[in-house]
């Protein structure tokens, strides 16, 4: 169903942050149609965060978004991680399970960062092997997000978007296309963001992310500390035009605004999706 065609808006959600828990537990009327929860914040907690997430799940769809799967790590996912994730999936019944196309360190030393992979055939084989293990264990497909990066490897044999698409094609996983990350990496590494998003086949895209970066002078830094910038909105307009049904997320992790401020960005994403669809049809 295309946004507007059924009288419903685009499926725009927001990242669930604890600062908004009190407001959300009041069940406000909101155009926000779903929430994304950071998996690791709930996998090891049986306390209040999980209680709140379950309450919210009673009313709205929830996607689980991980930051520590380390799908590109040569050691594979950390022992015990998948069992905890599967248990959480059982409790929440998410609409999507996602993580990042990166590695996060080693088993003995987790750096807790989304470290970029070299775009090589060897890395593709490692990721596919790990994705297969993960999807078999969870019994469901996952989607992997393109990360922002501040360096590239001289070993890389292909463009990032070719790497991403090859993994989706050969592993059966989906793509969480972070439009902000495309823009950040494109600016940092000097490629055209439009070419990147155009190269991702629509059928692989399971979700879109929108966030804000910080301009550090020498490079763009993916801080998620502000609203998406105009170039990111324009890139989003370009993508949403051809995939109107895909869930869209406003991601905000630092200097998180109050609920009204966050909701305003969701409303903007809905409006742009409507405009893009109107032009497309």
């Amino acid at each position: 169903m295309k946004p507007g065609a059924d009288g419903r808006d685009a499926m725009v959600g927001v990242g669930l942050r604890s600062v908004h828990f009190p407001r959300l537990l009041d069940r406000p009327r909101t155009p926000v149609r779903w929430f994304e929860a950071i998996s690791e914040n709930y996998m090891d907690s049986a306390g209040r965060p999980l209680e709140v997430l379950k309450k919210i799940r009673e009313d709205k769809p929830v996607a689980l978004h991980g930051v520590s799967l380390s799908i590109g790590g040569v050691e594979g996912p950390r022992p015990g991680y998948l069992a905890k994730l599967k248990a959480l999936i059982g409790k929440i019944e998410p609409i999507l399970v996602t993580d990042h196309l990166c590695f996060t360190g080693a088993h003995a030393t987790n750096i807790h960062d989304l470290l970029p992979l070299p775009y090589t055939e060897e890395a593709i084989r490692v990721v596919i092997s790990n994705v297969t293990k993960v999807q078999d264990f969870l019994g469901r497909p996952i989607a992997l997000e393109n990360v922002s990066s501040y360096l590239t490897y001289n070993d890389s044999e292909m463009k990032e978007e070719e790497f991403l698409v090859a993994i989706a094609k050969r592993s059966g996983c989906k793509i969480l296309l972070d439009v902000n990350n495309v823009y950040v990496s494109a600016t940092n590494h000097g490629f055209k963001a439009e070419d990147y998003v155009d190269a991702i086949p629509s059928e692989f895209i399971a979700q879109l992310h929108l966030g804000g970066y910080s301009d550090m002078g020498k490079f763009l830094f993916d801080t998620h500390s502000r609203a998406p910038t105009d170039p990111v909105w324009e890139l989003y307009r370009r993508v949403i035009k051809r995939i109107p049904e895909v869930p869209v997320l406003i991601e905000w992790d630092e200097a998180v605004p109050d609920w009204d401020g966050l909701e305003a960005e969701a409303v903007k994403a809905i409006r742009i999706a409507k405009e893009a669809h109107a032009v497309a049809s």
Partner: protein, 252 residues
Amino acid sequence: MPSRLKEIQKGFVDSAFGGITAAFTSSVTGGGKLTPAEAINVYREGYPARISEALGETFEACWRVLGDEDFLEACKIYSRATPSVSHNLSDYGGSFPEFLHKRFKKQAPFIKDLADLEWSFKEVFHAEVGAVLPPSDLAVAVNDKSVLVFSSAVRLLHLNHSVHAVWKRDRNDASPLIPSDWEGPQQVLLYRSGGTPVFSFVLAAPEASTLQALLAGRSVSEALAASKGLNEAAARTLFSFIASSALITEVR
């Protein structure tokens, strides 16, 4: 054939903990206007920053007591010396109270107790309460020989310093702490019921010794016998508190 990917990943991890090697630097191109070394440094500096943020969330009162400079410097040194092995940043810092003690015992003799209190608070916050028994069921089920099974969201701390008030102190209160603010041992109970925040209470020694015996699996009569000076009225108050606070999951 040796794995090039493994080599690259090792180079990245090593750069976060040790120095940035020439081999790793020569294998990358910096983004934007960054040199390769500067680009690697973006990630290298990000690691202690994330660790410090996580430690700052868990040990908020220690941060307030020590001040930005000392606390953040301690976080940075600790993060390089103590790799995170968990997928969850909230799990990080189990040995941080001892580390703070070694570093700041002269400046803040109570710092380990304060850090232990904050770490326990975090554990209770995330602990599963489970199905607790209502007071009416407890009243029927409990006798002298009963053993009470407590929810996993209950902690009784025996601290060497009186840090509860320091922990609860208004974050805008900038007046210096003096020894009378923390001197003397203290027993603090932390607990949470389903859907509630974490509660904290300072217990007198007789109540704490009785509760400790109960938590250790002693029967009601054994716990009362082990108590140090708990009179009848105080015992009644203690058991009434236990019953009404939804702390018990089972009576054996």
